[in-house]
Symmetry: C2
Subunit: 319 residues, 2 copies
């Protein structure tokens, strides 16, 4: 596919109307793009009230948005933005096909490792592009998004360097006010993101529901966070992704500055929602094992979080 195949005015489907789907969808719609939303729930509210996004510097209100209950109603698009949690990827096998045309690109905003593979299976590897989103945003009601940190987006192709279409997609988001950077090695960027996510999302849950400042102030946990980062860096290195040690120091410097931040996995855990336990902890463990990298602490964290999730869900079922 050459750049010309990705149209200048693409038809865009946003699959999922959680915090990410609404945030990026609202920005694209406000920028005049042709955006169509697939919503599992809360459709009436989205139709009646549109989207409202509040950021530290802006208020965006999109009054009318096209909302659909099924992919078939939307039909083929040029760009499908997958903004559902990776824990729902099984459902995408039936959701994606009606959205696919000859040159449709499927862009996943999902977190962690191994999120492109199910999309590649469902839609074909050549269509898949990934975006790693550094953003803090919550949905406070259907279509109402509070974004405290708009951050940035790293975009790359699944299993190959950036293409002309990758740059076009990034430009599309940039035009909509999103800081979007194109990368040649998406997989390497995903390992970079794990360096923070594995310890801080993980210990926030495993150490009893604590925020990042508590981890930083606890000598045992702070050291443990560093050891977990080192395990990730060493496993990534075995896959050829060189992450400098200084990147670890940088994570601590940044985390010290954000104060008492509650990682998204902890918020999901406590709200009884799905947690991307396989994508953030399970898949890195499996890949490290496969390549012979020792990740004892990561393995332990994975086992503990899985059990804590199991306990939570068992308790909920007993109610």
């Amino acid at each position: 596919m050459n750049a010309a195949d990705f149209p200048s005015k693409p038809r865009i489907a946003i699959v999922g109307t959680g915090a990410l789907g609404c945030y990026y969808g609202a920005r694209l719609a406000k920028a005049g793009e042709d955006v169509h939303f697939l919503a599992r729930s809360g459709r009436a509210a989205l139709v009646a009230r549109g989207l409202r996004v509040r950021t530290p510097t802006e208020r965006i209100h999109v009054r009318r948005i096209p909302v659909y209950a099924s992919a078939a109603e939307i039909g083929p698009c040029d760009l499908v933005v997958v903004a559902l949690k990776a824990t729902t990827n099984d459902a995408l096998r039936s959701v994606l096909p009606p959205l696919l045309g000859e040159n449709t690109v499927v862009l996943t905003l999902q977190n962690g490792l191994g999120v492109e593979e199910p999309l590649a299976e469902a839609a074909g590897a050549g269509r898949v592009v990934g975006a790693i989103c550094f953003i803090a945003s919550v949905r406070t009601a259907p279509g109402v998004i509070h974004c405290t940190f708009p951050g940035l987006m790293e975009i790359g192709e699944f299993g190959r360097p950036a293409q002309a279409r990758t740059r076009r997609i990034a430009a599309l988001f940039q035009k909509a006010g999103v800081s979007a950077a194109v990368h040649d090695n998406l997989e390497a960027r995903r390992w970079h993101k794990l360096v923070w996510n594995v310890p801080f999302n993980g210990l926030a849950i495993a150490a009893g529901g604590i925020s990042t400042d508590v981890i930083m102030a606890d000598e045992g946990l702070r050291t443990l966070a560093r050891r977990l980062m080192e395990e990730i860096v060493e496993a990534a290195a075995k896959f050829g992704h060189a992450i400098p040690r200084s990147f670890i120091d940088l994570q601590f410097e940044r985390t010290a500055k954000i104060g008492g931040y509650r990682p998204s996995s902890l918020i999901d855990f406590e709200a009884g929602r799905d947690v991307e336990v396989e994508e953030i902890w399970g898949e890195p463990v499996r890949r490290a094992r496969k390549i012979g990298a020792a990740v004892p602490r990561l393995e332990m964290l994975y086992a503990l979080i899985k059990r804590l999730l199991g306990n939570r869900d068992a308790k909920r079922r007993r109610r």
Copy 2:
């Protein structure tokens, strides 16, 4: 000191009237020994109603027991049985001296590593004997003990092989109906006990308050328990304590049989009581580090349990 120095009818002080102090004290008193109890609380009930012990096969009632509020009232004894948790060992600096005569033996029933050292400091190393108690017993009210598994007691000298007095003390307990075995290497026995205690007491707390059957049924946690045991065995080996790998298998066979057991540390954790976090996890970590043994999972478990205890106590203070 030769065997003759340990009298055939010793004056015995029991320091602490929790489950262990009451259980062994009741047995010794029922056997006609000269037992004196030092109680921090619940004295009136102990004086009024004595001790009641229920085991799977027996009911023991000791109607009248001498209970004291201070060590000075008891005065010098031949045997001082320390049945307080190791977390209270600071207090023993003032409790022990009035109980010591020329040849007094101080026998600690405490759990974990490093429990003899504070007693050696407070009373002199030559006096200190340790007993590792394999027992399941709870105090349901002051002086009322429910023992579901009387188990056995392993007795050894602090830092030297068994002496004549060690065997005399074991005989004293045996006469009172306690299975007591004498060992030449107390330290090695303590490492043996850690092989079970570290993973099962630890994961029961760290994985969200679960019983042993849940750990056994969870593949990730069961594997993790085995890795923790291997870390303990390898660290112990560096100290010259050879623990065969078959000992690990034996732990799993036994644990499979006891069903849904809630380890004592978990019960203490949930009841808001002190947990022997330094003796069971902290001290093994420090010793392993000192001798250059890698114990990444044990270190992680220690950090998590310390934080979970800290969270618990912080929450209690806020109430």
